[in-house]
Symmetry: D2
Subunit: 455 residues, 4 copies
């Protein structure tokens, strides 16, 4: 494969560590598309004949078909997808195959293939995240006024609506999509034509392959073109953040299914049983999504470590880019799909949610705010007064709304009957009408906003 200078083949262990065909065969569609564009350009620029280009193109199409159908035999001794395809091409079209690699190196070839793959994967993930958002919005639409406890520190803080809670994840997913879109900009530049590292003396037209492959522009520096993997790092960074956002919802689903909460129920489709305990109904998919977040982070750490301190230009270390990216992408894609399924599958238990929202003096802030509004207390003083009232209720084992006006007045004489009204869950939720707040009217408006956006 490497011309006339090597006398001996590789050691067995060398072949094992070196060959990438076991995983880079996933790039075959991109590799063939890029080779076809390259051949077309070589012919346009008369670097090879049109007849050769046609033969190459037809041969590549046939190879694509073979791989699509699973009839292609990959060979480890041919190292990688590029040489596997080229070798088969030679069988199919003879000498013309040997002209395809003119003005090209595996260095720019693999960078091109990999950028195309990452671009495609970003497009797939964007669609998947949009579907996830739609599932969230659809559930939110059913629960714009379903009251649940809002938590901080996993302690009950203030009542909110379940729809509002779900829409928080729509926002996160929107930012995830924006991050992937930003990563796509960096990925979508054309390294083809950089050749080994220094460019080429053949009169190539990099604009043609750029246009042909849908890239935004040819990369401006050939050394950079073959060395850069920051596009892959940025992809994995966006993936790790997205997986982290998903892991938060995953953890909540695990909690919500737990007997201490029972806020939602997943059907048999998304739960599993136990080999020993007949009563179990485990939210395995949610747990796996939570765990896979760590795996995407691991993939990012791998590639950051691989690239650290690598002198220009190409080094074989960079072959480790693909498995990290594939594993990160697969883990995330699976997580998004599983999460979408769970969000569609889950059924909220309004009663349990409302009951829980009534625990923990969740409307205490409303009382403090009333003291500010009605009695013109500075907030700090109002907070202090309310704290003492909460302590009183706690000591008596009663809820805030069960305290009598007299009891309230024993702490703060200025309190009037009007104050009692703010202590109900419905009043508390309805009052939070500030932009972004949890009042049902706000949540309805946000549902509508997102339905529009996601059309």
């Amino acid at each position: 494969m490497w011309g006339g200078r090597f006398e001996r083949g590789p050691a067995e262990i060398m072949e094992e560590i070196n060959a990438s065909i076991a995983f880079d065969q996933r790039l075959y569609a991109q590799d063939i598309a890029a080779s076809k564009a390259h051949a077309r350009m070589l012919a346009t620029r008369q670097i090879i004949s049109q007849a050769d280009a046609d033969a190459i193109s037809a041969g590549l199409d046939r190879i694509k078909g073979e791989i699509d159908q699973g009839s292609f035999t990959f060979s480890r001794s041919l190292e990688d997808i590029h040489m596997n395809v080229e070798s088969r091409l030679k069988e199919l079209v003879g000498e013309a195959a040997g002209r395809l690699h003119t003005a090209r190196s595996r260095n720019d070839q693999v960078a091109t293939d990999f950028r195309l793959w990452v671009r495609d994967e970003i497009d797939n993930l964007d669609r998947a995240l949009a579907a996830f958002q739609k599932a969230l919005v659809a559930q939110a639409a059913k629960h714009t006024d379903t009251i649940m406890p809002g938590f901080t520190h996993l302690q009950i803080a203030q009542p909110v609506t379940f729809g509002h809670h779900l829409l928080a994840y729509v926002e996160m997913a929107a930012r995830d999509r924006a991050r992937f879109a930003a990563a796509r900009v960096r990925a979508n530049e054309n390294p083809l034509g950089a050749a080994a590292l220094a460019g080429t003396s053949f009169p190539v037209d990099r604009k043609q392959t750029t246009k042909d492959l849908g890239f935004a522009e040819p990369m401006r520096n050939s050394l950079d073109a073959v060395s850069a993997r920051d596009f892959a790092l940025e992809f994995l960074g966006a993936a790790a953040i997205c997986a982290t956002n998903l892991s938060r919802l995953a953890d909540e689903i695990v909690l919500w299914c737990s007997p201490g909460f029972r806020f939602v129920r997943l059907t048999d489709a998304y739960t599993t049983g136990s080999s020993i305990m007949p009563q179990k109904r485990n939210p395995d998919a949610a747990e796996l999504v939570r765990a896979k977040c760590a795996r995407v982070t691991g993939a990012l750490v791998t590639l950051l470590g691989v690239m650290k301190g690598l002198p220009l230009t190409y080094a074989k270390d960079m072959q480790e880019d693909k498995e990290a990216v594939f594993d990160g992408a697969d883990s995330l894609a699976l997580s998004v799909a599983a999460m979408t399924g769970m969000v569609e599958d889950l059924e909220a238990d309004k009663t349990a949610m409302r009951r829980a929202a009534g625990e923990g003096f969740s409307t205490a802030t409303d009382l403090a705010d009333w003291l500010v509004r009605a009695l013109k207390k500075p907030f700090r003083e109002a907070h202090h007064i309310t704290g003492r009232i909460v302590a009183m209720a706690e000591a008596r084992g009663s809820k805030l709304e069960d305290l009598s006006l007299k009891e309230l007045q024993s702490v703060e004489p200025g309190i009037t009957a009007e104050a009692l009204k703010v202590l109900s869950l419905d009043a508390a939720v309805a009052s939070r009408t500030s932009f972004g707040g949890t009042a049902p009217e706000n949540v309805k408006a946000q549902v509508k906003y997102w339905q529009e956006q996601l059309k």
Copy 2:
């Protein structure tokens, strides 16, 4: 501090683990700016009086001055920057201070402060990276035709120019700046007004504080506003990638200063000696930049780990966001500055570079390309022929250009005297005129392009 419900103070170890003032005091300028904007808005919306707002504003200005000058006393028992400032404000302006926290919680306050800080830091880093690019372009301008070896696998591959090599880093830095700009978009949204988590019943105007603080828009979901730290993760992701790019140049500087290369020399300003070996001149700064890349990655891993699986909304875990971001940002800022200094400081040894470029049969590809162009050989065959010629030269211990025509023809009879011309370093470099290639004319054009961009 927490009103009337707590009877006992925290345990000593609790105070130690819980207090954040040791590090979040770095947010003081942002905290005060945000509080001033909040107070102004509260007055506009008549939630507090104008007089109170004026007193608060004047008090906050004074506190800012005290902290600027180092005369402010931070107290650990007041936990964090927010309570330290508010407590001092109370000393200065009395009861009005107690009205500042109306319609606000530390949850939205800290999110606001931290977003402002990250935004400021991105702006600082953008300036620093532009200076780094300028230093690179200035060196590149001096070396548009300085020939050095281009490496792959740290083996000599093809001759390139030093200017071309330096411009590769300008491209990387440009993408780093673009990544930070993208992260800035996500950071630059206003959480203020989300209050604890659910929004507020006070008639706040979030658009006013948004405009006042230079945010692009108010966040649409209050739960998300206080829970989200993906903006910080994205910042650290961009920082880790940027640090990785820098680490590659750092490693090259270490190599280039090594006696096996001696491509560049750093002055006393950027080298250190040894406590035992009097002859040493060590490129410590480059090594530290290389190492700090791992540290930024560590900070990213920390925050990804912290956020994984956290149920909404605020959890105290999130207090660990700040030290990770500060350490990542500081490490990167130091690295960019040190790198800029080194690039300005280094002096290239053209002789050493050219000598090295002549090693390793670096123009073999040019011979192969000549065989394709002149003899119409398929590239694969040309590659094979050249491989045999290299093996011959290697066996004789001579360079390619020292082989006689006859010797060349003993491998491939079609070779003519014209082929010998492509074997010189200058010819090889000059021939790579494809867009992005290393030909001096290209490099000059790229230098001009970047000089324009960086004006």
Copy 3:
């Protein structure tokens, strides 16, 4: 500092990135102890005079006193703790100070200091973990028969005792201590005498300093002695695993304090309030322990990244070892102490635990086991029968023990009244007498075992 060859001082940014005194001053006690041992050995071997050694020793003692008392002035331009101490020593004892660095380099000096520091820290952590174990055992002793639900997938699985649950963490901590002990073995080797990297021509006695400093043996290879940091990596690895174990208990405490569980209550000493919500009682310390786990992992990732691919021997990159280790060690030490405090502080709510244990058909396995024992059913069939019984109970909204014998027999006619006995929580727990099982008698025996071990 570096003798006669440098003409110019470092650039400002160089000094900033290069100086380590801001953090390596933490090594002062170890640095001084190692210097004293070195000086003693030099005198014993007559490399320096006894008078010089005495002067050096006295001077070093005085410096230690100055640093202990905070009266020592550290100087950044002297770079690190080694040169700060040596410079002060010169002020105090004159020329003799210049003889201390004979047959030594900062390379072996810093490796020695750092190993001593890590060794000391391991000893501190071991003591702290023993105290943590004692706190756990003391709580377990109070709850050997307190029934709580055992969870898998955060679903109720089978009843266990709270004491049993706490003892699981005692086991984890025991393994953590064993890991630190193993790391100590690797740290406790003496690099002193390796000098810069190659050993020394002075007739040093490395066994003397080894014995003097309590090391197990002198390192056998001088290049390795100054290059190795795997002892620090192993320390951080053990720390990250220990922090991960702690984070699991931390997460449980957060859950147990949550209104859905209320299994335990922390006092005011380990909870905090809210700046806006007067009713809150947040388990901040537990959340911070959970978060700091990620931070220790981040420190480990940092140092693994720093050391990756570093050619021998010393490189300045390795200066980044200290902050990573310090931060990891501090985060862990704080976490262990806070966790010990929380375990001592928490009060279990037996009623809530027992109530929860009765939910979720937690004794279904016992029925299945009964079917195996009494009716000789294969377990798989017994599991299937019980599953159908659970489904029946679930459909009726009743507990297992509330089903009538008749109802049970409608699924499996062979069931007798004896089967009903195994369905009670107490019976279920008491029956699990296999070694390591949750039966109270077992738990009592384990408490006793650990009380013995921890004496």
Copy 4:
């Protein structure tokens, strides 16, 4: 599979994310061994009949044969290796198969299997590391007095021998083996009998299975037994450190093969060519070992992240333990084997090494030491004098040993002709006779020591 309670099968995506058979089939030998031991014990304790145990055992042997030969059909709908084996067992032996899972759960079963796998893998790695050490010692034995430059900061520091350098890696590998041995202690404890989480009411004998499977002892706490994965973390920690040590040698091989060094040559067995540059001979295997270090770190980060904050006992998140461990183990095993091959394959170029050692004033320390010994200068003064001499030599472009006595005396009049003798490479190396130093006699002794150890 989960008995009589589930009415509907899993969603397609649920099955995809949930099934582990694609990777946990690697545990089949361990799973079958553990099941056989469990069945034997059940019969001994008369929990099942001897006839059933015999049938189970024979069936399991047959299944092992089928999997060994590749004739076993794995089914994704049966989820994992445990259910795949059990399902086939039922086909083979009927009802008896249903009795195997008595007093056992998949929770203790998978913990047992995985511990056995990790233990086996540690034993494999230990053998591989011993072979690596032997290869190093064999090369070192050939080069006990081959002089090469010792580097710090990749600058030439002092001359050392190549044998000494290689033995540094023998030391590192010895510590790696010790770390794996320590990890083995933690892995080698028996969780079998913990059942789901709480132990069992069947009269099992955990000591029997402990002895049968070669474990050291049964785990003392059933909750811990099914929850703990710190043994896997410790394994990955040891693997990451070992990979880091290997990456350092890998980086050195890349450097040593580079034209700036040419210290060693790898044959065709461990190098690859280029698809475009016919002259290339790339040390791909070394680069891949360097990169795989990051991958093992990524696997460790994954599992640390997975386990962080997981409440007891088993959670499905823990299913992610296996792929991380398998990938880390495979990457390391491949790296050790490739490294062993390269060490055996490499041929040192003594001439190039010696020439390089003569660069960079590498014997300056020897002159400084001479000034201390012969002229009784304090080391600091000697260092300063030598620095000025180096500066003089550097200015003249000559080596230290080429300076005349007169020139030396112009800096320090006390210098005598004797001083010149210490400036030669051979004298410098020979003089470093301190224990662990690079003197050939030391290196020979160390080679002998290690040959003994590795017998």
